[in-house]
Symmetry: C2
Subunit: 114 residues, 2 copies
Amino acid sequence: MSFEPLDCHIDDGLKSLLGKWKIPILIQLRAQQVLRFSDLYRALPGITKKMLTQTLKELEEDDLVNRKVYPVVPPKVEYQLSAHGQELIPTLDALHAWGIAHSAHLAHKQHRHD
Amino acid sequence: MSFEPLDCHIDDGLKSLLGKWKIPILIQLRAQQVLRFSDLYRALPGITKKMLTQTLKELEEDDLVNRKVYPVVPPKVEYQLSAHGQELIPTLDALHAWGIAHSAHLAHKQHRHD
DNA sequence: CGGAATCCCTAGGGATACTG
DNA sequence: CAGTATCCCTAGGGATTCCG
């Protein structure tokens, strides 16, 4: 692994993770394998359908997520990590574990300053 | 490691990484150990001094980065990952490696569609 | 159920100039 | 060198309504 000071490829790739809901959605899909639109909608308190639709579309365009439509009525659409998206799993796990630990760390700091 | 559908702690901690420049700055600090303000300024093409100042301040408040001021003239200020910030290193490495691979993946896809 | 279409708003961030 | 201080703007999102 190389670390040059001006390694701008980082930012290029990382753009696919930018946005308020990208990582939370990916973490849900990593945890649950396959989720329907409404599953994700419920799993992400605060998201709107518009943002969910839009973010899923972007993730699909970046080849991180696969979308599967069942031609039934009422509609049924499933989302899951694509093959390429699964390469993100170690990263998502690291993010997930650190997020929890860091959240606790901040809470502890906060507590000390009450 | 637990994965509950509504694990909102993720988002809490992850907030500290939100923003256009947080992760790029952290990756620079992970790679170089210690950097001065102007080092970071040069290492991050496109950032403004305002954003650099502001983002470093937020990272410091989240206890991810330490700031060391030398009382000399001209001013000298050094930044490095804090002890707690170093817990992010595995995550940053994962992000860094994936960012490069993903960037290549997208470029390849793009190429095929020319 | 899984969206699409509108309208709307503000805060995140850019550009520039100045300072101890 | 390492920031402040201002002004400014738009695009990323929020809320709501409608649709097959």
